[in-house]
Symmetry: C2
Subunit: 316 residues, 2 copies
């Protein structure tokens, strides 16, 4: 069966689409600025479970995932639209007011203005489409396609927490949730988009390619390699596995969550060795190097080197 990535390639080729394929589309705005625009669809029972979250967290997350796409281009979010399909049962409660309140609380942090959207009835599932527009210096948006052999590979933050949160929610009854479980679960339900970090990496000319970790490190790194026509080697011992996972998972499982889990919304970027003198490596983890083996991602795990297949989240 075809994957969603194959289908997007088919559409790109069939219709000669130039702007499709990065975290955001880059469109000309004015003499000094490009516009960024992105859309993210969240569907109940596919992308979220209503009994695992709150309306406020869901509103927050709907915006966060799109802000993260803008962050991954080094851009500055400016405006947003929110499209919601609501089952009648939820319409008759305060759910939607609370969802918009959670959305707006995060929007206020980044001075993002809600300018439109749509509101529709849905037969059974809640559906949210989050659209964000932003600005970036003309010609400077950090694409997935700029990685060069020899560039170092970095990630921000710690990985696997959100995926660990899903595992904990699957195995726990919410009422008996331990305090220690709350950190990974918070990573899942209330991710913080790395907008300032993306801006910093662009402003200082550090990142040669960038993507946000939404599908999972193995898949997202593969996207960068594919777009840049390069390969990558990364070292398992350098991957910053979320320390909050230690209590619940063995080290192999925690590593698998960090590699394939997705939804951490940290940034993965590449940078030439020269450009990295500009920043303190404390803020980022250097996990490997870009190679000239196009499309091949290799993981060194203790003594073994294994091919790392894109094993993150896929809808199809």
């Amino acid at each position: 069966m075809k994957t969603e990535f194959e289908f997007i390639q088919y559409i790109k080729k069939s219709f000669g689409l130039r702007a499709v394929g990065d975290d955001c589309a880059v469109l000309p705005k004015d003499d000094s600025t490009d516009m960024l625009v992105t859309a993210d669809l969240l569907i109940e029972d596919i992308d979220f479970q209503l009994d695992w979250t709150t309306p406020e967290f869901l509103g927050h997350k709907a915006l966060a995932v799109s802000l993260s796409d803008v962050a991954a281009m080094g851009g500055n979010p400016v405006w947003a639209m929110l499209t919601v399909g609501v089952p009648t049962g939820l319409w008759n409660t305060d759910f939607l007011k609370r969802l918009y309140a959670g959305w707006h609380e995060l929007a206020a942090v980044f001075h993002v203005e809600l300018v439109g959207g749509d509101l529709s009835r849905s037969p059974d599932k809640l559906v949210i489409d989050s659209i964000v527009g932003g600005n970036v210096e003309k010609g400077k948006a950090v694409l997935r396609s700029g990685a060069k052999p020899g560039d170092r590979i970095y990630v921000s933050g710690r990985l696997g927490g959100a995926a660990g949160g899903i595992q904990l929610l699957r195995s726990s009854k919410q009422m008996s949730m331990q305090a220690e479980e709350r950190k990974p679960i918070a990573r899942l339900l209330r991710p913080l988009p790395r907008v300032e970090l993306g801006r910093y990496l662009l402003k200082n000319g550090i990142a040669s390619a960038m993507i946000d970790l939404s599908d999972g490190l193995s898949t997202d790194l593969y996207h960068v390699c594919e777009a840049s026509q390069v390969g990558a080697e990364i070292d398992a011992s350098l991957i910053p596995v979320d320390t909050d996972l230690n209590e619940f998972f063995g080290s192999d499982q925690a590593l698998a969550l960090a590699l394939n889990g997705g939804e951490d919304f940290e940034l993965l970027f590449t940078a030439s060795p020269e450009s990295t003198s500009a920043f303190s490596s404390k803020e980022f983890s250097h996990i490997g190097t870009i190679t000239d083996k196009s499309g091949v991602v290799e993981l060194t795990d203790r003594d073994r080197v294994v091919a790392l297949r894109p094993s993150g989240y896929r809808h199809f």
Copy 2:
């Protein structure tokens, strides 16, 4: 129970939203241009039935409804995003390829470029969010709020056809569909957005306020009156009821379809008596006059004057 319009008012007030409430949001682009942006959500079994349409028609319609919003501001559509949530059953067919083909055929007519979107799995229903961006001369977008007492009220085209199409589809078996039934059904399934008309009305400074007829004349005229803080009187005998309805519906029912049916995607606009000298009235129907009775819409039907309540389509 609150209506969707009340909820949007609540959100506007709660968060101080300035750009929400017209067919498109108007955002600054550059020194001479504003950007327009709009989103329209279509959900299976709410906004469309899969057994009433084809994938190509559905792709066409998803784009058409958003182009119609740009038309209603006098704008020029430029780019689009398409977000689709697909049940697994449809994913494993050529449905999506055909949907994109229908979308793209209409996009090519208006030179609209697909720049992004999202693709997700959906548990059971097909979900489409159509996003379109466009340009308009700075400060010139035709808003709903510009109607003045004494302005004439016009509509383009003929009304009620799409709503008649729904009635015919409800009562017919598709296989036994008569050739004569196809015209109203085509109005419903393959609407043509009035982009050139909207441009013409803006360029010639004709329209003081404008909206597209998506919810139905009675509701959409009410939106204009509310936004402009005016009233309206229209004459039933002047409403251009779709002549293709004559075979299937009595004149009272056909008038009701034209008043409350929605989905015709014609344009409703107001114009001062002076400005209308610029155009041939053959292209539009003059159906009434704007009054100073704020929020009151009156319909003259033969000898009677009745208050016309907004009775078009509502999700809630």
